[in-house]
């Protein structure tokens, strides 16, 4: 009797385990995808990643009242061939496939026979860094690990691996096939580089363009690390972050990182991501970023290579949130100053103000402080108060400390120990060395003489180069 009960229980437990494990197995393996039709209808499918594209066609066709062989499935700029297995397509959970009706199945059959199979694989499959970056041309390609793109994902708030996707430049539909593969970053980052066929509504796009130019592909990236949030789910490509396939050492720490930041200077100047972060941070704290007219507030290769400015400023998202905020603030301040504006001098305010050039009475919109444009003190009638400290040639200040000071002590100290750059008026402290000053403010770099407070000349060099 006991034996019977015992065996019954073992059997029961085994059965339960089986059910549990098989259930787990199923849940684990199913892939949830959306198939979008040109009519705007979306079909949700739970499929086994081991099935092929023809299976999807069979599932979708009855739902949209068509035959499977009338359908064409498009993903990431390419039509997927019938025998293509889904798990090889690089589809994530809740990815969107596009299905369109073939205009004439016969014609398509002919076309398909003449097309090599490689062309009918998804774009992301046929692209890898060895073909995508010209820098690998001369080396053999030891691609042990799969190469990938990097993005800044606004949803995950961080650096993530990204996936390349394609849509129509004009109607933004994902039902779009490219005529050729992109060969380098410029094809992807610059608009209208690669032509293709919009399968969504070709007439609409052609009419829109009035046949004056072909339909172009628009490339975009999505984060591969969160479940797709629909067609608007996009991430910024960080094209300078790449896998370090050639094992180049970081210019700062000399380690060979797996993932590198490539400075845009064509000289193999790379940094590991940690060193890139500290490079950005130290330059930021020294206010040594440059306000570039096209790319914005940015940095160049630390080796000073020509034309090596970082174009995509989202790379600075690698800074932590506080410092990225600081980066944005500094960029705005620099922009305001460059545009002839000024910053509210009230401690804790710093509001950017653009005022008429001849207006000297400035009211801050933020804190309502009213100040004089010229001396940045509270507004006054008549000439500004000359509070310039007198400094002798040795840079020693001669200030009467007994004189009553009614203002902010930091401001007084700044006034006492600094002299303004004759070009940009930035208060400058001389902490040693010679009298030859080079303004440290990025974009100014004026050479001036600490003694004369004018441009550095050969007379300065002869008379008082150093004290």
């Amino acid at each position: 009797m006991f034996r019977f009960i015992a065996s019954f229980f073992t059997k029961l437990i085994q059965m339960m385990l089986q059910v549990l494990s098989s259930k787990k197995h199923i849940i684990h393996n199913l892939l949830s995808i959306y198939v979008k039709t040109s009519g705007g209808q979306t079909v949700c499918l739970d499929i086994d990643p081991k099935c092929d594209v023809s299976h999807i066609k069979k599932l979708v066709a009855p739902q949209i009242n068509l035959q499977p062989d009338e359908l064409k499935i498009i993903f990431a700029g390419k039509e997927l061939a019938d025998d293509y297995v889904i798990e090889e397509c690089d589809l994530g959970q809740q990815s969107i496939l596009h299905v369109v009706k073939i205009k004439s199945p016969k014609l398509n059959e002919v076309f398909r026979c003449s097309t090599p199979k490689a062309n009918l694989s998804p774009l992301t499959e046929s692209l890898d860094y060895s073909t995508f970056s010209s820098e690998d041309e001369n080396t053999e390609k030891p691609l042990e690990r799969k190469a990938h793109f990097y993005v800044y994902c606004p949803n995950c708030k961080g650096l993530k691996q990204g996936k390349l996707r394609v849509r129509c430049h004009f109607c933004k539909s994902g039902a779009f096939t490219v005529h050729s593969d992109p060969q380098d970053w410029s094809h992807v980052l610059q608009p209208k580089q690669i032509t293709g066929t919009c399968e969504n509504d070709p007439e609409y796009c052609q009419e829109l363009l009035q046949n004056c130019e072909p339909t172009f592909a628009e490339f975009y990236f999505k984060c591969s690390e969160h479940v797709s949030l629909g067609e608007c789910d996009q991430a910024v490509p960080l094209d300078l972050i790449r896998p370090n396939l050639r094992h180049i050492p970081c210019l700062a720490c000399l380690d060979v990182p797996e993932t590198m930041f490539t400075f845009p200077c064509q000289k193999d100047h790379i940094a590991c991501l940690d060193c890139f972060r500290s490079y950005c941070l130290s330059k930021l704290l020294e206010r040594q970023f440059w306000q570039h007219p096209e790319h914005g507030y940015t940095l160049a290769c630390p080796n000073g290579c020509l034309n090596s400015f970082i174009r995509e400023i989202h790379h600075f998202r690698l800074l932590d949130d506080d410092n990225y905020d600081r980066y944005q603030r500094f960029a705005t301040e620099e922009f305001v100053l460059r545009s002839g504006g000024l910053l509210c001098p009230q401690p804790g305010c710093g509001m950017g103000i653009l005022a008429e050039p001849d207006c000297t009475r400035i009211t801050c919109q933020q804190c309502k402080y009213v100040f004089c444009r010229n001396c940045l003190q509270g507004f006054h009638i008549g000439p500004c108060d000359p509070v310039e400290p007198s400094l002798d040639a040795q840079g020693n200040c001669d200030v009467d400390l007994n004189c009553p000071v009614v203002e902010d002590p930091s401001r007084t100290t700044i006034k006492v120990i600094t002299k303004p750059c004759p070009s940009c008026k930035t208060p400058t402290e001389r902490d040693g060395g010679c009298m030859h000053m080079i303004c440290t403010r990025s974009g100014c770099q004026f050479h001036w003489c600490w003694v004369c407070q004018t441009e550095w000349t050969r007379e300065c060099m002869a008379d008082h180069w150093f004290a």
């Binding site: 210019l251 700062a252 720490c253 000399l254 380690d255 100047h269 940094a271 060193c275 500290s278 490079y279 941070l281 130290s282 630390p302 080796n303 000073g304 040693g432 060395g433 010679c434 030859h436 080079i438 440290t440 770099q445 050479h447 550095w456 050969r458 060099m461 002869a462 180069w465 150093f466 004290a467």
Partner: protein, 151 residues
Amino acid sequence: MAALPRRIIKETQRLMQEPVPGISAVPDDSNARYFHVIVTGPEDSPFEGGLFKLELFLPEDYPMSAPKVRFITKIYHPNIDRLGRICLDILKDKWSPALQIRTVLLSIQALLSAPNPDDPLANDVAELWKVNESEAIRNAKEWTRRYAMDN
């Protein structure tokens, strides 16, 4: 104290294994970021025959910020002040994390041969030295003999 970054270890090893001619840089026993440096005065300069002691310190954020270098031996040179502080662009705004201890010390040695060669006004240096040449060189030689040749 935080662990020494690999970059500093590598640089120190290389400085020991392949020293730069005319320059010695030895880390302090108690602080691996502090180096005792000796630079020999370059030939055909007023500093020839002198041995100049310097101190070099790698700050916390090295190599993002430049090493701090100072002459300990007194030297008569237009780009070095009486406290031994050096006016050299790569120690200030032209610093790059791709530069190293050895490149800094080589630049300092070069600075002894030619005052501030990277200055945009360097074309005028030769002319300036024509004005003061004999006296400046006499002073520099005298200081070298007096302060840099004791040992």
